[in-house]
Amino acid sequence: MGRFALEGVKILDFSWVGVAPITTKYFSDNGAEVIRIESAARLDVLRLAPPWKDARPGPNASQFFASYNTSKKGITLDLSKPRARELVKKLVPWADIAAESFTPKAMRNWELDYDHLRQLNPELIMLSTCMQGQTGPNALYPGFGQLMAALSGFYYIAGYDVESPCPPYGAYSDFVAPRFSASVLLAALDYRRRTGKGQYVDMSQYEAALHYLAPALIDYFATGSVLGPRGNASDRYAPHGAYRCADEDGNERWIAIAVNDDIEWKAMLQALGADSRAARFQSKRERIENAAALDEFVNSLTRAHGAQDLTHKLQDAGVAAYPVQNCMDLHQDENLEAFDFWHWLEHKEMGPSPYEGLQHRLSRTPGELRWAAPVLGQHNEEIFSGMLGLSAAEIEQLQKENVIF
């Protein structure tokens, strides 16, 4: 038993962008050895995206890439070259898991798909994850999580009305799918331990994401009812939403409040020093049915309060509330701090850099961000010389030929 939970697990990681690198990060932060195969000939697009160190772009200066690739090793091979593929195949018997996230034809064209790799390692577990899966008429659909979040229904159900969708920020489905892929790979490892059988995992990010919309899909199939956006309305809570507080430093502030029953409603009014207008909203039914007027009323009460102070007041009174945090606030959030969420790691080129930590904590074998993300080809020598036994001259020659590139 090592210090980390997944010590001894080995992953050959051909993947890029969000879902698969986030999946393999669960492994690397828990002690697995993850070797990412990259190429300057086809940079991971996250290396080309902000935020940048000092707001200056560069393939080794993207925190976006860095955040999803902690504790991994990085080598460069231009897999469009046969010699590069020969080299990478030598690593296949070493691996427990191979992961890739190209559109489905790439690995097949390179003869690095599961049917080829399993000949080199019959017990291999392989994850292929792309937007819409390896099969079917739309298998080659190119895209990113922003589009997938639209396609899988999340844009439509967010916003105030059907005329103006208000999507979740960013590539939402990229943060749903890895919870499935990481779980299933770990389960596949256990199945292999018990049976000696490896297997192929085809995860469509579309199909994984739809699980977070399951109640609405079941409803549609059963009754034809189409879930739409509904602002902050709720069937269970009223008030329920974000309410305007006093501005701070020129920034608008809001508080989220959810009131479940009459006891909480009265407690909320008392905490807010409310006047008799509240008589209009005495029963839960009245509050839910008059949600717009209720929201206006609550806004009139919260407007003078600081969001943080009001949160304390309401929570002390037994009412669910929290400031609507922006990305600046998150770095001062005392509850994230208590979970030791933020970390600074020393990156080879970016220097000390801000990383998000783990979302869970294991008591006996806690994972950690073991080191910052690799710069392009940071572990070339270690892997090509140490693992594959290439001489310095051979490595130099391969670099000249842009095979190691």
Binding site: A5, G18, N30, P51, W52, Y68, Y114, Q134, T135, G136, P137, N138, Y141, L147, G153, A158, Y160, S164, C166, Y169, V176, R179, A182, S183, V184, L186, Y191, K197, Q199, Y206, E207, A208, L213, P215, I218, A222, T223, V226, G231, N232, S234, A242, A256, E264, Q315, Y322, V324, N326, C327, M328, D333, N335, L336, A338, F339, E356, L358, Q359, R361, L362
Partner: protein, 419 residues
């Protein structure tokens, strides 16, 4: 059919909406998941909307979706008889996942330390809104609280209007998914040394994680994203991402460079076929077009972005979602419909992959169609295999069969309100 993937493993599910998705994933992977709920039923059974808008403990769509394939036993945890039953079950379980207020299960003798004494193999995962040591660990909670605390809500909505939620609560689902990953991570060393452990999942951190690294923006760029409706990006990278079409909306990634150059070129060519492209667009090298890369825009950049977005908008207004999506697929353009559940239900890709599955629910007397396998596995297919259980449907099977409690004793427990 029950998946072979995790067959033989047993999970006790003591969660509510803060993590019901964890047990659902384990059930999909073939584990025996025993939902332990109070005799009146788990609170998830009261979550609206209900099937056909008729309330009832078996009709909450949330419960139907996220308890599918689990077994249910009842236990009134205020009763010492019921606690003893749960402790006996935990002695025979591989995993336990719970989402009670921090410390509650410890206070009634069902905490990790207590249960691990009898079953050191147990992996015990606690889902918490803010972790177990936070000042807010005892805060009252609703899904929207974590949506706000995790930073997502602030970035959703339009300027001048309140930050906004999604119509299906999401925070609890992320926490459940994270609990599944964490439980499986802890399972790996247990295969070696037989030792379980306790895990804390922090739901707030789970939502911060979904922000696509935007949280590094304040530190590295000194700015943070404000909600801006159909636009995305911060100063210098702001782009329109949602366009109207004849019967709804389309989402587009209108970018150049490595990410979007080929796509935007293909889109411009398509627009040109219909007279919507400007001359400058035909001459542009889109593979090097990266306005905003240096976080500021020139006047020319602004003109190009606005002209392109404006013409895309006019072009899309001539077509339906289906027509645009069809054209997109042919031309490999980075576009997607803003799909409704109705669009998803008739999607040809999902049909070709036989994604949706029908599950017969005898309690409701009907078949239910639900999302199927979250991934396709070549040796051990996964996916839902049974409907959500009725309250206590498996009391006799589990308490009688697994624990060997006699029918008479079960009757007396029931009479005392323990189960």
């Amino acid at each position: 059919m029950v998946s072979e993937l995790l067959k033989g493993y047993r999970m006790l599910d003591l969660t509510d909406e803060r993590g019901a998705s964890c047990g659902k994933m384990f059930a999909d992977m073939g584990a025996e998941v025993i939902k332990i709920e109070p005799p009146q039923g788990c609170s998830t059974r009261t979550i609206a909307p209900f099937l056909e808008d008729v309330p009832g403990p078996d009709r909450s769509l949330y419960a139907i979706a996220y308890h599918a394939g689990k077994k249910s036993v009842t236990a009134n945890l205020e009763s010492s008889d019921a606690r003893a039953l749960v402790a006996d079950l935990a002695a025979k379980a591989d995993f336990l996942v719970e989402s009670f207020p921090v410390g509650y299960l410890d206070s009634i003798g069902l905490g990790y330390d207590e249960l691990a004494r009898r079953n050191p193999r147990l992996i015990y995962t606690s889902i918490t809104p803010f972790g177990d040591k936070a000042p807010a660990r005892d805060y009252k909670w609703a899904d929207i609280i974590t949506w706000a605390a995790g930073g997502m809500m602030y970035m959703m909505g339009e300027e001048g209007k309140p930050p906004v939620q999604m119509s299906v609560p999401q925070a609890g689902l992320h926490a459940g998914g994270e609990a599944a990953v964490a439980s499986m991570i802890a399972h790996y060393p247990r295969q070696v040394d037989g030792q379980g452990q306790k895990i804390i999942v922090d739901m707030q951190a789970c939502i911060v994680w979904t922000l696509m690294n935007e949280q590094a923006m304040p530190i590295l760029h000194g700015d943070h994203i404000r909600r801006s409706g159909v636009f995305t990006g911060s100063a210098g990278t702001r782009r329109k991402m949602i366009f109207r079409c004849r019967d709804g909306h389309m989402s587009a990634l209108v970018a150049g460079g490595t990410v979007g150059g080929a796509s935007t070129k293909a889109l411009v060519m398509w627009m040109n076929e219909h007279g919507f492209a400007a001359d400058w667009m035909l001459e542009k090298d889109w593979t090097t077009w990266v306005p905003g890369m240096f976080m500021k825009l020139t006047e020319r950049d602004n003109f190009e972005i606005n002209d392109l977005e404006d013409r895309i908008q006019r072009f899309f207004l001539t077509m339906t979602k289906d027509e645009i999506y069809e054209g997109t697929l042919k031309r490999r353009i980075l576009l997607a419909p803003v799909a409704t559940v109705a669009d998803i239900a008739r999607d040809r890709q999902l049909k070709a992959r036989e994604y949706f599955v029908e599950i017969q629910d005898d309690t409701l007397g009907r078949k239910l169609t639900m999302p199927g396998a979250f991934a396709k596995l070549s040796v051990t297919p996964v996916g839902p295999h049974a409907p959500a259980p009725r309250i206590g449907e498996h009391n006799i099977e589990i308490y009688g069969g697994l624990l060997g409690i006699s029918a008479d004793r079960l009757k007396s427990f029931s009479a005392k309100g323990a189960i």
